[in-house]
């Protein structure tokens, strides 16, 4: 009775976008309250839909509910539009709408001084939320792709929000403009792959509906190479959207937008779309263990590299951005390792292996939900700090704990959670990620690669704890800096209340989901032989506790985390160890490598700017000069008799005509060659 109204979930934020866009100027706070209403409404409907979905036997037996109407059709294939609800979409729409509501409430305080531009802000974030919710409930790939692109467009607009007048001056405004462009173009590169993947799916399955594509019988009837190619291309789209190696460069730059936008992009929307898509495409991806291996390796490498870049960054938002990349890497590692085992299990018919793989799926989804909460908390907290200290440079902060108690304590909770401190949310999911990676290492021919990824992931866990606490100590402890003196106390209520709510979730949501709802976020093959989200078996509270605490590796990671926090304390709070000594005052090679992001941006510039623009220039040169030049010579032969005539015309037209003639000669040669090669005539 509520599920039929699922379409309201993306529609109401969409209407809010229209209303705010047109009438926001006349509303108080630029229409911010309308945006909040839209998000809150979407959350309320999501709760009702999820409640009905989980409690009604009619839905929980097949594990999904879907309804579609025809959108358009051409020839023998039709594209539908509709909704597809299973526990994965429920999870996604619940946390996306909930966190967005809090972020919008927070924005009322944070964006208060923006004047008339608030209208644009609230309109765009509403549309952004539409994109994410639409993506979560879509019933086919094309519909999903439309929302996917809507989000890309919104991120472009929002990252460039301060491009006219940045609070930190003109240089920052130019940065915002180029960062926005970079984000759009880089994610577009991925989108091209995704679109290619969709075409392959359409060709292979004759339909883009989830129901058809994920059907086991249909999958078996399709050429396996097509499935592999489509999966690879879809994952290419994911790499772009979720900023995975090697397309990870845009996300740190995207910090140029308002902090609330960063929170939205990193926590609730955008980058999570990639994780969602991999989880959604599990039936497709698990057809090939090699593909899942690839997913896992990309995830592991990103987790490691992004964490190293965060180690010495001085900008509070950039540290958080790198940590997002790193945590996303964890999610892909978990999904990849779980999917790898599941794929092997499907090939050999080993149900134990499939069940072991399902743990990876659970770990990936759980980490996605956990990360949404603690990363939203951390970004909003850092926004609160920036709002009152007026700087993003952590060297100018310090000692803020005394002035901003609520922000300080809530951010401490977020840091503990992301660092994987025992019993906090992040701890449960991170341990499961590591366990899956370790487990996957002992299966299959290439399994040892997962063992290598496990090593990287453990080192990453150490680094995560270090840089998060380095951030916390530099900001809130130690000697007061320039910005601290400027600080005028705690932020307004509209900002601190969302922080407090989020900190409760950041601390506890992990074990709540894991112990209470684990059977919903697992996956497996049901009695009908179909993939079904939620058809695996929950381990239950004791099961998970046993899994985690009976393993020696858990204690290894916990010890590393504690040591990392200790080192950060000594370096940045007690100051008894001087970080300058270790990095030779910023001159050591490794320090420079990290500050230059391992020279990735330069690499992109070389490839993108020099190569792309160079090729364009070159082609124009060839088009206008070389061809003309060659043809000039040719033309006297081809249009020999026209020589005297052509002197009366401009040289250019003669060239154009000559190109036409040369083109005909080329066409003739091409035709002859084709006929010769293909054996016609």
């Amino acid at each position: 009775m509520f599920v039929e109204y699922t379409w309201l979930i993306p529609l109401v934020p969409m209407l809010c976008f229209v209303i705010v866009g047109f009438f926001g100027k006349k509303m108080p706070e630029g229409g911010g309250h309308v945006a909040i209403f839209g998000a809150l409404f979407a959350f309320a409907v999501s709760v009702l839909v999820a409640y009905e979905f989980f409690t009604s036997a009619a839905y929980s037996a097949p594990g999904y509910v879907t309804a579609q109407i025809a959108w358009f059709s051409i020839g023998d294939f039709g594209i539908n539009v509709g909704y597809y609800i299973d526990s994965l979409s429920c999870l996604m729409m619940l946390f996306a709408s909930f966190i967005s509501t809090l972020i919008f409430v927070y924005s009322i305080g944070y964006m208060h001084g923006e004047g008339v531009k608030k209208r644009r802000y609230y309109a765009e974030v509403s549309l952004f939320l539409t994109g994410m919710l639409g993506l979560a409930v879509s019933s086919n790939f094309l519909e999903m792709f439309v929302f996917w692109e809507v989000m890309g467009l919104c991120s472009y607009l929002l990252i460039g929000f301060w491009s006219f007048t940045h609070p930190s001056g003109d240089d920052a405004a130019d940065n915002a403009a180029s960062a926005a462009k970079k984000a759009f173009l880089v994610t577009r590169l991925g989108d091209v792959c995704l679109m290619g993947g969709l075409f392959i799916l359409l060709y292979a399955f004759g339909s883009l509906d989830y129901l058809t594509v994920f059907d086991t019988a249909a999958m078996a009837a399709v050429d396996p190479n097509m499935v592999l190619l489509a999966s690879l291309l879809i994952f290419g789209g994911v790499i772009g959207k979720s900023a995975q190696f090697p397309l990870l460069d845009w996300l740190p730059d995207a910090m140029a937008g308002p902090t609330t936008v960063s929170a939205l992009i990193h926590a609730a929307t955008m980058v999570k779309a990639g994780v969602y898509l991999v989880a959604r495409c599990f039936p497709l991806f698990t057809q090939n263990p090699e593909l899942m291996l690839f997913v896992g390796i990309i995830g592991g490498i990103t987790a490691f590299f992004a964490a190293t870049m965060a180690l010495n960054n001085m900008n509070i938002k950039k540290v958080l951005a790198y940590s997002t990349l790193s945590q996303l890497g964890y999610m892909f590692l978990a999904l990849g390792a779980g999917g790898y085992m599941m794929a092997l299990g499907i090939q050999s018919g080993d149900t134990h292996l499939i069940a072991a793989g399902a743990v990876g799926y659970t770990a990936g989804c759980l980490h996605m939900a956990n990360h949404a909460f603690f990363k939203a908390l951390l970004f909003l907290g850092s926004g609160s700090v920036i709002h009152s200290a007026g700087t993003e440079d952590m060297r100018e902060m310090g000692g803020l704990h005394k002035k901003m108690k609520i922000t300080s304590v809530t951010m401490l909770i977020g840091s503990l959670s992301i660092a994987g401190f025992p019993l906090f949310s992040g701890f449960w999911s991170k341990e499961l990620v590591l366990e899956t990676a370790m487990h996957a290492g002992s299966y299959g021919v290439e399994g040892y690669l997962f063992t290598a990824m496990w090593v990287l992931a453990v080192v990453t866990a150490f680094m995560t704890a270090f840089y998060m606490f380095r951030m916390w100590f530099m900001t809130f402890k130690g000697k007061p800096g320039h910005g601290t003196e400027h600080c005028h106390g705690e932020s307004p209520k509209s900002m601190t209340v969302p922080l407090i709510i989020l900190s409760v979730f950041a601390a506890a949501v992990g074990c709540m989901i894991l112990f209470g709802f684990d059977e919903y976020i697992t996956t497996g093959i049901n009695a009908a032989g179909q993939f079904q989200v939620g058809s695996g078996h929950g381990h239950g509270m004791t099961g998970w506790l046993e899994d985690i605490f009976m393993s020696a590796y858990t204690y290894l990671t916990v010890a590393l985390v504690l040591i990392a926090i200790g080192i950060a304390y000594l370096m940045y709070s007690r100051k008894s160890v001087d970080p300058g000594k270790i990095n030779r005052n910023g001159n050591s090679l490794i320090y420079r490598a990290l500050s230059n992001r391992w020279w990735f941006p330069q690499l992109y510039n070389q490839i993108g700017w020099k190569l792309g623009y160079g090729v364009a220039k070159g082609v124009e040169f060839v088009d206008r000069q070389v061809i003309d030049g060659t043809v000039n010579a040719l033309s006297s032969a081809v249009v020999g008799s026209g020589e005297s005539l052509s002197k009366t015309q401009t040289g250019n037209v003669r060239d154009y005509a000559a190109v036409v003639m040369a083109g005909i000669v080329a066409l003739f040669i091409l035709t002859v060659v084709l006929f010769y090669l293909m054996g016609g005539a």
């Binding site: 020839g75 006219f164 060709y203 124009e620 293909m678």
Partner: protein, 497 residues
């Protein structure tokens, strides 16, 4: 029901298949008189709008009613002719509507200017209804000769004169080539009627005389559609001509070439292909190679353009490359998708040209750098421009995305079988990714760069109305493609018999 095609047959009798054109010809004849008697541009535009509206009404009546008829074995009106006439009517409507307030159009010869516009569109519609090689040739020539004059009519700008001369010379060359090809084809088939040519060819084997006819005709019509390497006139002409004329050439005149290609090649090949002796696969490959080169050159060269009209010209070349996919794939589905893309292209590219024309009229230059800070000066126009450019780049859910999905998927998938043109589809997808880069430069200039002033701009009302029409269709066709797509599917099935 009173309003159906019987109204048309009652008025026009045996000339009913030509009704939309006859109305326009009458209009073209009276417009100079209107101008000389009133000396007011508004009066001329009002009359030509009325004439186009009547013609549009007749055509829609005939289309919706499924009217079919033929005249003298030279013209035949069917679903294909109907939808293509509709396309040309939309183009001419937009062009005539904005000409009145554009600062680039002639003041002295405004009556003649309008009648030339109408006459050119009549030529285009002749091609759409033609069932004989002679009428196709005449229609194309009528449209071309009028276009030469229209380009030259911007007398204040020396670039226009240069462009017109170039256009005439290259146009003459391509006419000669086309005529040569047509006569070769006549020599091979012994008839000029398209259906008879198909029947005649299906009884014989491939001959080199036919091969030469084909190559020269590809070159001749390749000039109209601005396919590489017959494209070099296009940037100069689009840049030199008055912007409403550029829009007319880029969206209307280009499509004439496609209609002629569809008529001559698709009809003949599909009929002839039925016999095993006359295989056309090699010719499909020729078109595939041209399509790939055209879209790549168009997109890549557009990157380094700084004049927005030149950039749009190269992007038109690229779009022509996409539509040429139809000629390579040669399926009914591809043809329907290609026609749908031609329609969306009218609104996307037409809209972009109209915005450029409106801005030139209010004194903003043609350089991309002149567009800096436009979002502050004219927010709605900047938004419309961004939507047109995003649609051209294929961002969902705009029209360009939907039509590209149709078009590219037609190269991949045909009745459940993978076609051999999948590589072409991938080149096209890659190309549309490249194209985003140069469209983004304009969007960035408008929305992100700071302009020198933030003074508000007032756009002339007719421009605003035309841009609004394009904007609505770009959005609506993206979400409800069925609106036009059904007609395109009917038209395609007519052409494939």
């Amino acid at each position: 029901m009173i309003f159906d095609s019987s109204v048309v047959t009652a008025i026009f009798g045996q000339f009913a298949p030509l009704a939309p054109m006859i109305v326009l010809i009458i209009g073209a004849l009276i417009l100079p008189a209107v101008f000389f008697s009133t000396k007011r541009r508004e009066a001329v535009t009002a009359v030509s709008m009325a004439v186009i509206a009547v013609s549009l009404l007749f055509n829609i009546l005939m289309m919706v009613d499924g009217y079919q008829g033929e005249y003298a074995g030279l013209f035949s009106y069917d679903a294909f002719a109907g939808i293509m006439i509709l396309l040309f009517q939309v183009v001419i409507f937009l062009a005539a509507l904005v000409s009145v307030s554009s600062s680039e159009t002639t003041r002295m010869h405004y009556g003649a200017y309008n009648s030339l516009l109408l006459a050119a569109s009549v030529g285009m519609m002749f091609v759409a209804t033609a069932s004989d090689l002679i009428t196709i040739f005449l229609g194309v020539e009528l449209a071309s000769i009028m276009s030469y004059v229209l380009v030259a009519m911007k007398r204040s700008d020396p670039r226009a004169a240069e462009a017109a001369v170039k256009y005439v010379i290259i146009g003459g060359l391509s006419t000669a080539l086309t005529l040569y090809g047509l006569s070769m084809l006549y020599g091979v088939a012994g008839t000029t009627n398209i259906a008879d040519i198909a029947a005649s060819l299906s009884t014989q084997e491939f001959s080199w005389a036919f091969g030469i006819a084909m190559i020269t005709m590809i070159a001749g019509y390749g000039f109209k559609v601005a396919a590489v390497p017959f494209h070099m006139w296009a940037p100069d002409v689009y840049e030199g001509a008055a912007t409403p004329v550029s829009m007319f050439l880029g969206t209307g005149s280009k499509k004439v070439g496609f209609v002629a290609l569809f008529k001559v090649f698709l009809v003949i090949f599909v009929a002839a292909n039925a016999t095993a002796s006359f295989a056309t696969e090699e010719i499909q490959y020729v078109f595939a190679v041209i399509a790939a080169i055209t879209m790549t050159v168009g997109n890549v060269v557009a990157i380094s353009q700084n004049n927005i009209k030149r950039m749009l010209a190269y992007s038109s070349i690229a779009q022509a490359g996409y539509i040429l996919i139809v000629m390579a794939v040669m399926t009914e589905y591809a043809l329907a998708s290609g026609m749908f893309h031609m329609f969306t292209h009218v609104f996307m590219k037409g809209g972009a040209f109209l915005v450029v024309g409106a801005l030139i009229t209010v004194g903003i230059g043609e350089k991309i750098s002149d567009y800096r800070g436009l979002a502050k000066r004219a927010p709605l126009i900047a938004l419309a421009m961004a939507v047109f450019l995003f649609a051209l780049a294929g961002i969902p859910p705009l029209a360009g995305f939907t039509s590209k999905v149709f078009l590219f998927s037609s190269a991949i998938y045909d009745n459940g079988v993978m076609t051999q043109w999948i590589w072409l589809a991938f080149i096209a997808i890659l190309n549309s990714a490249i194209s985003l880069y140069y469209y983004m430069r304009v969007v960035k200039a408008m929305f992100i760069d700071r302009g020198e002033t933030s003074e508000r701009i007032k756009i002339p009302r007719t421009f605003a109305a035309a841009v609004a029409i394009c904007f609505v269709f770009v959005c609506v066709l993206g979400v409800f493609p069925q609106l036009i797509m059904d007609f395109c599917a009917d038209a395609a099935s007519v052409l494939f018999g």
